[in-house]
Symmetry: C2
């Protein structure tokens, strides 16, 4: 295997470290790079086979513009932000060599590459990064080939909406001052898991979620439509329109098709796994009657 | 162990069967009972140590009123619906012996009693059902002692809101005609799990969810407040108020306290388990560049 020289800009980030660990484990030479080591840019960057920009979205554009002039036309320039149109466009402007937008579809708490999806959006001469994709697949991961426009549409659909609704739900729990511990005592495994999804968001960086949510114009449009649907369905609930609810339920069930059962089966396995992992301390038991 | 005579009214329901299987496995005598066998009511019901009403909410009241007159004052009358104030009240009116409202906090796809929570709302002489609770605990389950008012408040907070928002999200996906298969190819494990929670709901009975959602006055009030919060937060997003988002995020994070990290840790373990179970067929791989 050819040993590559890789520079990861923004080395302190959790995803930067995930990639550094993985690439190092494959025998490549990985150098972390940040503001403190910027004075070595002229020495380190032109030698790199691959430069991965792994800084938050709001700094990605300026970092790409700073890095670009130091690269030779043999260096692949890539980023790993969760949007792709704008960073890929900026990379194409700032660098004349190979450009690839990457988006790891998992968080830094993942424990291996195995079964993880990496989205690949080619910008220019992206075949220069095939070794990286092949290594990803060799480590048990999956590469999903897309393009910046499709990617950003998918992310608006998937991430912006889910993250924002999860954010709203967390704020709602806080506004209602719900007794979380007591609700957990009452919890079905599915509620614990759903609450886990909410708590999980707030355990992470606000900036990361702000970046995803505030950088998606499409996401905002979708959220507006979602909010309107919510209002309309709530009105039907207020009117006690149970038949309408059951009819809509059936329509959506039909639309899900066989996936509904796949999801039921898949999530049941997970829930059973979650229940079997429950520690007695998670549960409350008291007899006051 | 004393062998008890238990009658489960509504024997064809999945939860009825779950309880029948469990009680039979303990050596008790369990008889299923429904409209077809109603002509045997005068023979079977007076002999029972315990009668469990396990029919849908909208039939629970009438079934309780039908069953009541056949019971002796030694029989424990219990129900397992997901609301408790109204059924417990009706049981107290229809029967002069022991009354207990039960609510299993898990679905019928669960594979054992182990680690499962059963909520117990005493109505009258509930100590007559201690053998049942002790057996539940003996099988590895947990009994949560509550009362009908607290229970219904908790359920409005937990179930009505979560189920309705999940329902709305499914309807939204259908209205947007989202390409689920393509979004799954892009999916992070967490999205697959979240989508799983939505698909899971639609794989089940509309009536069950309608019962839970339409029978909670408190749930409706909470949903109205949630919808208003959503609108207010969406306005801030429309105004590009990123600082406000980050501030609210911090407030809610602080409110979650140590639970946020507990949830992050717990859900990360689950997500890693989900990823390790992924089959290659779940993932899409194509190189078109």
């Amino acid at each position: 295997m050819l040993k590559r020289r890789i520079v990861i800009v923004g080395r302190d980030g959790a995803m930067a470290q995930f990639f550094a660990n993985w690439l190092t484990s494959l025998g490549h030479s990985v150098e972390g790079f940040d503001r403190q080591t910027w004075h070595r840019a002229a020495e380190v960057l032109p030698e790199a086979d691959l430069v991965i920009v792994a800084v938050p979205i709001d700094r990605t554009e300026s970092v790409i513009r700073q890095v670009g002039p130091y690269l030779t036309s043999n260096t692949v320039l890539a980023d790993i932000t969760s949007i792709k149109r704008q960073p890929v466009q900026v990379m194409l402007e700032a660098h004349h060599g190979p450009v690839v937008g990457l988006h790891p579809m998992f968080g830094p708490t993942s424990d291996s590459v195995s079964n993880q999806v990496l989205v690949h959006c080619g910008g220019r001469l992206e075949q220069q990064l095939h070794w990286f994709c092949d290594a990803w697949i060799g480590s048990g991961g999956t590469v999903l080939y897309s393009n910046p426009t499709e990617h950003d549409h998918m992310m608006a659909t998937i991430q912006a909406v889910r993250h924002f609704t999860t954010f709203v739900f967390g704020c709602h729990l806080q506004a209602e001052d719900v007794d979380l511990n007591r609700t957990l005592a009452f919890s079905s495994p599915i509620y614990r898991l759903e609450l886990g999804m909410v708590g999980r968001l707030f355990a992470q960086q606000a900036e990361l979620y702000a970046d995803i949510i505030f950088n998606s114009e499409e996401g905002l449009d979708i959220l507006r439509r979602y909010h309107n649907s919510f209002g309309a369905l709530l009105s039907e609930l207020e009117q006690g329109n149970r038949e309408q609810f059951i009819e809509r339920f059936a329509t959506t069930k039909a639309w899900f098709g066989p996936l509904a059962d796949v999801f039921l089966d898949e999530s049941s396995k997970l829930l059973n796994a979650a229940v079997s992992q429950r520690k007695p301390a998670d549960l409350v038991m008291e007899r006051d009657s």
